[in-house]
């Protein structure tokens, strides 16, 4: 088996989403990440109240991510056939959970603005 190069991966992703949508998503992801870093630097800490609220959304993110993949691939839990399927689902769920947590925290922090110590 030969190596999967980064260039190939980008090419495949561009084909999958369309070039515009793919790079649009990359830009959005980068902006959310930048905003998250910004609020952390601004506040010099994670605000526990915002973080707790954001964490509460994690299961929703996980379920939404798994549901989305099942819907677009016309499959369901009954199709899980081996350990790698469970691992893949956990990874998809984790990605959804972590993604929504970051997004929710960032939105609260940006909207809530800079306040005193929590």
């Amino acid at each position: 088996m030969e190596e999967l190069t980064f260039g190939t991966l980008i090419a495949v992703l561009e084909e999958m989403f369309g070039r515009g949508l793919f790079w649009g998503l990359v830009v959005i992801a980068a902006l959310v990440t930048a905003a998250f870093v910004y609020v952390i630097v601004r506040d010099r800490s994670l605000r526990s109240r915002w973080f707790l609220r954001a964490e509460l959304l994690a299961p929703i993110g996980a379920i939404a991510a798994i549901w989305f993949v099942f819907v677009i691939t016309r499959s369901g839990l009954g199709d899980v056939g081996g350990p790698i399927d469970v691992i893949a689902l956990i990874m998809i769920g984790l990605a959804g959970a972590v993604g929504l947590t970051f997004l929710a925290y960032t939105v609260q922090a940006v909207v809530g603005g800079k306040r005193g110590e929590a």
């Binding site: 959310v32 081996g82 399927d85 990874m91």
Partner: protein
């Protein structure tokens, strides 16, 4: 949500790209040349190679000869014939994939003269070349099944996934009706070389799956007529498929080759070692005998002693260079090699032809070779597939050894087929994967 999308897509693409065969870097050092290169065929292999050569060669005159304005993503046909995608899923324009630097002659090739190094097109135009790449695909010979005609597809229980995206869609309508009503589903494959030998098996599994989902499996009989003594050419895969066929309750008949079909009586006739056998059907997926296109078969390029009458190009199975005409190469379905009439094989063959051809132009020895790699995401039901990859030696060559088991029905393998394979295929056409 963008973050999760990216993560998911990344994972899926990583898996998908590997399912089609992971790529090497698309572009190495550019070589200056004024060579005239003609490519016959703008399908998967031809388009991909045109892009790679255009990027790799400086000053070469690259001509591609193909009359077809439509480019067809053939790995999608099974999904169309299973009602999972519309016919348009597999259709794009040939012109979408060809680089501007390449001269596209929108005609078929009518004659090849490898001594004079010319190709004559349908209109009689003579195109001379220094190097020729034959990527003409193969021909479906429906007329070799008595009573069969492409016009019958979609009527009287007759389906045929291979003929076109529209035929695949018409096949789905018949399969959908059949799995509502029940009866005898008859599946088979030809005795010739064929593209994607896994496809007849997949479609049998999918028909069974729909009958089960609709609660009609009890009134459905599924017969699979294998052309030889096995279901699949790779022994270890054959055993697995044999077991699954047993589990699913398929009635497997060996050494049955379809020779005639009677749409009125709904009966197919098979040649067997014991003489002709008739099998009635309420639904069948006709897969015709296949051969190289006539222009290749009638040229001096085919093997004389292998695949006799089928006309596949006589190339070295590792370098894909013609054994008698060193300035001729073949890639894709038309190449006379023991394995690999799939898009995944084309993806692995094209960089080899690129390397060998460019090295030859530069007066060097090529280093890349083709090991027979073929990949078949063998769908066993909607939602599961086995990611089967093998080479010339019938060895399994899994992309993710120890992670994705090749002989296990898995959801992740289905995931790849559904979302990542077409993207990888498109990237391949552009010479980027």
């Amino acid at each position: 949500m963008s973050f999760e999308l990216d993560r998911r897509a990344f994972l899926a693409a990583a898996l998908g790209a590997t399912a089609l065969g992971a790529a090497r870097p698309a572009h190495a050092q550019r070589v200056a040349t004024s060579a005239k290169i003609v490519i016959i065929g703008a399908g998967a292999a031809g388009s991909s190679l045109a892009n790679r050569l255009a990027a790799r060669l400086d000053g070469a005159e690259i001509t591609i000869i193909d009359a077809r304005k439509r480019h067809l993503y053939q790995p999608g046909f099974t999904l169309i014939a299973s009602g999972l995608k519309p016919a348009g899923y597999s259709v794009s324009s040939t012109s979408d994939w060809l680089p501007r630097a390449v001269n596209w002659i929108e005609e078929g090739a009518a004659e090849i003269d490898p001594e004079a190094k010319t190709v004559t097109t349908d209109s009689g135009t003579q195109v001379s070349y220094d190097y020729l790449v034959v990527a003409a695909g193969l021909k479906l010979n429906y007329d070799q099944i008595e009573g069969m005609d492409v016009g019958l597809i979609g009527k009287d229980g007759i389906g045929s996934v291979y003929a076109s995206p529209e035929a695949a869609e018409a096949t789905w309508r018949e399969m959908d009706r059949f799995t509502d009503e029940g009866g005898v589903g008859l599946f088979s494959r030809p005795a010739t070389e064929m593209k994607c030998a896994g496809a007849p098996l997949k479609y049998t599994f999918l028909t069974d799956d729909y009958a089960r989902r609709k609660g009609n499996r009890g009134k459905t009989e599924i017969i699979y007529a294998a052309h030889s003594k096995s279901l699949f050419g790779v022994p270890i895969v054959n055993e697995k498929v044999r077991m699954l066929y047993g589990e699913r309750g398929f009635d497997t008949r060996y050494e049955h080759v379809m020779k005639a079909i009677d749409p009125g009586r709904k009966v197919a006739t098979f040649a067997t070692p014991e003489g002709d056998r008739e099998i009635p059907f309420d639904f069948t997926n006709v897969i015709p005998p296949m051969s190289a296109p006539d222009v290749i078969r009638n040229s001096p390029l085919p093997w004389a002693d292998k695949w006799v009458g089928q006309g596949y190009v006589e190339v070295d199975q590792y370098t894909l260079r013609h054994n008698r005409y060193p300035d001729v190469f073949a890639a894709g379905d038309v190449a006379g090699v023991p394995k690999g009439k799939t898009a995944a094989s084309a993806k692995w063959q094209v960089p080899v032809v690129e390397d060998q051809l460019v090295a030859q132009i530069a007066g060097q020895e090529g280093t890349e070779t083709y090991n027979g790699y073929t990949s078949c995401p063998l769908i066993t039901r909607v939602g599961r597939a086995m990611l089967i990859e093998f080479d010339y030696k019938n060895n399994l060559v899994p992309s993710f050894p120890g992670v994705i088991a090749p002989l296990e029905e898995l959801w992740v393998s289905w995931l790849m087929k559904e979302i990542a394979l077409k993207a990888t295929y498109n990237a391949m056409l552009r010479g980027r994967a």
